[in-house]
């Protein structure tokens, strides 16, 4: 098992290298002369040259790439022009807020889509099957930022059930002490019931908005995979041997159908990480997506590069976890590797 994980880690290295090259090129592709840009409009020629030397822009491109890698290895993502803060620190403090959204939405989406897919596959052509198809197609057509706004209108403005869409906690609660940065978990550990409820109620709407968007690929893949497995020989044998239907469906078919579903999770994560940026803007959520949008408006490039790189590395890591999970569920994969 350990060897399998190490092999997968090694296979991810070229991908990480590709990601670093792309973010490096992005940083160098800025319109105009970066040195003149960073120096500001009133800078003299000498000042621009000084900044060029300071930024390392007078060196050769491979050398610049080496410096870029060295800075990253030391956790140095550059400084934000507008706030003067270190981008790396800002990203680290904001990352848990974004992860809370993405992981919450993933769990919710899986909890709805997988049973829906199984139900639709075990009753093909039934009303459940048709409903599932229409609902998921409609769901994937809904941009998460729009769903979020509709949810705010209905549950905050009309019904008054949801709290104001203004960040992670309501105005009267203070952030729970803790290490993880996930307010829901920190509040539980600290035993602060009210903070916990406040954090959860702020989370519900953005999570639902994100989850609706990702239902379709998961439900469709579950249904297709279940249908294929249910039609296979070993299921017929299991049925013919007189095993109870629920045992055939859940223990024999479902476990095998899970494999393609887990592969789909990679795509779902891509949707979620992208969608989270938009949802963060709608709900004034202080995550790294909102940070990047603020920086975009101010034409502040270091935070955007840091954001793109963080998201990409996170995505590579998630795909790695999915790969390993695949190996755990399907022992054959581990043997081949």
């Amino acid at each position: 098992m350990l060897r399998f994980i190490l092999k997968r880690l090694a296979a991810a290295l070229p991908t990480v290298f590709g990601v670093l090259v792309v973010t490096f090129v992005m940083a160098r592709a800025l319109p105009g002369d970066p040195a003149a840009y960073f120096a500001g409009p009133a800078a003299t020629r000498e000042a621009i040259e000084q900044i060029r030397a300071k930024l390392g822009l007078d060196k050769s491109v491979p050398e610049q790439f080496g410096i870029y890698l060295r800075d990253l290895a030391q956790g140095e993502f550059g400084k934000s022009l507008s706030t003067g803060q270190s981008v790396g620190r800002e990203l680290v403090t904001r990352l848990p807020a974004s992860l809370e959204l993405v992981l919450g939405a993933l769990l919710l989406s899986m909890a709805i889509a997988i049973p829906l897919g199984v139900l639709a596959a075990t009753r093909p052509g039934s009303w459940i099957d048709h409903t599932a198809r229409v609902v998921t197609t409609a769901g994937v057509s809904l941009p998460a930022f729009f769903t979020g706004l509709v949810l705010i209108y209905v549950f905050y403005y009309l019904l008054g059930w949801a709290p104001a869409p203004m960040g992670r906690l309501d105005a009267f609660a203070s952030a729970p002490p803790g290490l993880t940065g996930f307010y829901v978990i920190d509040a539980l550990i600290a035993g602060e019931g009210e903070t916990f409820i406040s954090a959860v109620s702020q989370l519900i709407l953005p999570i639902v908005a994100l989850a609706i968007f990702t239902l379709a690929p998961l439900a469709r893949m579950t249904r297709a995979a279940m249908l294929e497995v249910l039609a296979s020989d070993f299921i017929r044998t299991a049925r013919a041997s007189g095993l109870p239907p629920s045992m055939v469906t859940y223990r024999y078919a479902f476990r095998n159908a899970l494999l393609p579903v887990i592969t789909t999770l990679g795509m779902v994560f891509s949707f979620l990480l992208g969608g989270a940026v938009l949802v963060e803007k709608v709900f004034a959520w202080p995550g790294i997506g909102a940070f990047a949008i603020e920086a975009l408006i101010a034409s502040d490039y270091a935070p955007i590069q840091g954001f793109v790189l963080t998201m990409a590395l996170l995505y590579v890591a998630l795909n790695l976890v999915i790969d390993v999970l695949y190996g755990v569920i399907d022992p054959r994969v581990g043997l081949e590797a």
């Binding site: 990601v19 509709v150 992208g274 940026v277 938009l278």
Partner: protein, 281 residues
């Protein structure tokens, strides 16, 4: 051809939803072509005396914060939104089909380089990559198109590679080679035309995603600039009024966006049923 038409009619009668999608598509195309000449009001004309009026007989979708007619703006925006998505899909299609087919047909270095390119794009969450590309290349509509094209490129390249790979040693390719066709000619005249139907299905499926992506980028303030009517920007502008109850400013452009994406997703499913019944899910 007649067999295909008969098969199409059969599929359409079996699946009325696809028929609905075709009808929606016709409406969208009409709106995109005729939209600017059908507007009841000037989509850019402001009038502070009629700001934020709810939908009425005069202003079907209400008016926005500076008194512009929301219906006219939604209608006019159709052309821009569809054009951006269409241009992006065409870029992805041309480069993806050619690159993917070359990779699948030639193998070797061509395949390695193109696969590495595809893997690198796929290593990013796609919307995030698009944000990064637009931010670093400049905040213009052209770059939105390019970024949306780049993130859709892997889908086409992968399909084209797999399909070309299956056909590289097929009988008709051997025959073409024996009759003295050059490699480039075989690729362009024999491989690419054969994989076009499968790519067409992808085109319709990715069109919906391209619309969402472009609208998402303008929602966060990239690309199209106000006051140009565009669905993503209009939703972003309307977002401020949701918490005070003026729902119509954001709802109607959002619905238009949703319908367009829904239409292309359904069309994609329908095309797949017509062209490739085995993949039906």
């Amino acid at each position: 051809m007649i067999a295909l038409l008969r098969h199409m009619r059969y599929v359409l009668s079996e699946n009325p939803v696809t028929l609905l999608a075709f009808a929606l598509f016709a409406v969208l195309v009409l709106a995109a072509v005729l939209g600017p000449s059908l507007t009841p009001h000037d989509p850019l004309a402001t009038d502070s005396t009629r700001a934020l009026q709810p939908p009425s007989a005069t202003y079907w979708f209400g008016t926005d914060q500076i008194g512009r007619d929301v219906f006219s703006r939604v209608l006019v925006a159709t052309r821009l939104d569809l054009a951006i998505a269409m241009a992006a899909v065409v870029i992805a299609f041309v480069f993806g089909a050619l690159g993917g087919a070359a990779a699948g047909y030639f193998g070797g270095w061509t395949e390695r380089v193109i696969s590495r390119l595809v893997d690198t794009v796929m290593a990013f969450p796609l919307f995030v990559l698009a944000m990064g590309i637009v931010a670093s290349m400049g905040n213009t509509v052209g770059n939105i198109v390019l970024a949306t094209g780049i993130i859709n490129f892997p889908i086409y390249a992968r399909v084209a590679r797999a399909e070309a790979n299956i056909r590289r040693n097929a009988g008709f390719i051997e025959a073409a080679r024996l009759s003295g066709n050059g490699e480039a000619r075989i690729l362009l005249m024999h491989i690419v035309p054969n994989i076009l139907p499968i790519m067409a299905v992808q085109m319709s499926l990715t069109m919906g995603y391209a619309i969402l992506n472009a609208a998402g980028l303008s929602f966060i303030g990239l690309g199209v600039r106000p006051p140009t009517p565009e669905w993503g920007i209009m939703v972003a502008e309307g977002a401020a009024f949701i918490v005070s109850g003026e729902w119509w400013v954001a709802l109607f452009p959002g619905l238009a966006l949703m319908l367009a994406v829904f239409c292309f997703n359904l069309l994609g499913d329908g095309f797949r049923d017509i062209l490739d019944p085995r993949k039906r899910t």
